[in-house]
């Protein structure tokens, strides 16, 4: 008997960057006997087979889910409700369903109503990613040293939560269990708003005249380059994030815009002391992050 094993059969609905990275961990660590992969496109299923990540492939989510000990929904969150509905008829008591979506309240609202009695839905969100998409770009160290946040609704089976937590710990993550609404609020500011701003500034550049654009690109080994990297991520995934966490994002966006107006005014009226105070303050936050152990060592940034 393999004492590393956590599950008999695992079903991955969606096998993109996140799903395929986790599947690589499952293979490396021997966490399951069998992996069934479900995706919409033949090409994706073929890639999953070629990479050795799937023992069985299917385009039917219910087919994938029916004999799985755990079903991992790893698709853009806008699809989660339909997937839950599709797999509901085949789910049996004791099965675990989890997901990896960047918004948790909306996913819970979309998925929970479809879950039969005795099926354990454990919403999850690994705080990891790259600008790349697709199964071929996953890698088995993606989750190492990162947080994975679980947001089980009240009354969720503790053993099921612990099993999902253990899966992520085997992938190298630290696991936190927090309230779904709080997750969505915190992620709105740490992730959803920064990414929206990155998408936005890159688009502002796209509207500049061609000749200026060329030089912007040429000299972009600066602050702007960091933004383009963030803004190169999957458009569908991010569309779904904003549509499904709109309340928290709009609130943060409002605060951001008010603060930006203050800076704009200070620049217009030459208020150097206001600018300096605001800039100094941001250093304290940075120090907090370094103290929390989340920062990398200094590396080249914006040259001014």
């Amino acid at each position: 008997m393999n004492d590393k094993k956590l599950f008999g059969t695992m079903a991955f609905i969606g096998i993109g960057l996140i799903g395929s990275s986790l599947a690589r961990v499952v293979r490396r660590e021997g966490l399951a006997d069998r992996i069934v992969v479900c995706a919409r496109r033949d090409e994706t299923l073929q890639t999953a087979m070629d990479l050795g990540l799937a023992d069985q492939v299917t385009k039917d989510p219910a087919e994938a889910a029916k004999d799985a000990d755990i079903v991992l929904i790893c698709t853009p969150i806008g699809t989660n409700g339909a997937i839950a509905q599709a797999i509901a008829p085949v789910l049996k008591p004791g099965q675990i369903v989890t997901d990896v979506g960047s918004v948790k309240q909306a996913v819970i609202e979309a998925v929970s109503p479809h879950m039969p009695e005795g099926v354990h839905f454990v919403p999850g969100h690994p705080l990891a990613g790259t600008e790349s998409t697709g199964p071929e770009n996953g890698f088995d160290t993606l989750f190492e040293g990162r947080w994975c946040v679980l947001t089980p609704p009240e009354g969720t089976d503790q053993a099921a939560v612990e099993k999902v937590a253990e899966l992520w710990r085997r992938a190298g993550s630290q696991v936190d269990v927090i309230d779904p609404a709080h997750h969505d609020w915190v992620l709105a500011i740490t992730s959803h708003l920064p990414t929206l701003i990155a998408f936005n500034i890159v688009n502002t550049v796209a509207d500049l005249e061609e000749s200026t654009q060329q030089e912007v690109i040429k000299y972009s080994a600066t602050g702007f380059r960091d933004f383009t990297r963030i803004a190169a991520q999957d458009p569908i995934m991010w569309r779904d994030v904003y549509l499904n966490n709109s309340e928290a994002v709009l609130e943060m966006l409002q605060r951001f815009s008010e603060d930006l107006s203050r800076l704009q005014r200070a620049i217009r009226w030459g208020e150097g002391d206001v600018l300096e105070d605001i800039f100094r303050r941001s250093r304290d936050i940075r120090r907090g992050i370094i103290d929390a152990g989340q920062a990398d060592p200094p590396e080249p940034v914006d040259p001014g």
Copy 2:
């Protein structure tokens, strides 16, 4: 005779991250016989001596400048006019004066009127930097593979421009000569606006309630972390950038805000197709940057 040598005596007015990094290159490559360093604080001068970057130190810019073949002004740009005024009485025909400021029109307006006939002022801007400040944080590879932009006003002595260009090439940079107004416009979007936005979002977080802030910091190994890194830079240097490039920055900020309002509206009204179109467009810009050879290989970014 040392055929690597470009100058007899070099004077550095200001010896922070940029100045000390260039001085390290000068030492390593043997580009000058002698380096004189001027700074306001005893501690900075002592550090420059301890690092072996100075043959002579002084707090008087004129004392530093008087026998130098080239004077490098490496201070926040708000000080450049006063420095030019201070060194003007001792400058002699044939001497070169250059700077490293992130804004070029304002520096030219502040410095040029003080330059005596026959003194060659060659404004420059190395597109390199880190979040660290001070002479102890410089390093001799800072400029390798980066651009250095020179913006000599019309009529500037070509031999002097070439000499400054050669200095930066020896530091490993590629040199471009462009119009100062165009420089300020392009830098407003590649560097000044992204940094302003980074400062702003970090301050928006600073206003959140303490408990949320802690979690923001805890989970900030995401898009937000990139912003804190950018926003950890020198407040004085950046204050001076915004005060001195206000017109271009305000124009870009206006465009950015208009574009952000469009995104805000699309989120509020659930216009997924608008979001998706905008996000897709930003990928093209990213591809342009990769084609221009300015992008790093994919690395972990925002997890959503």
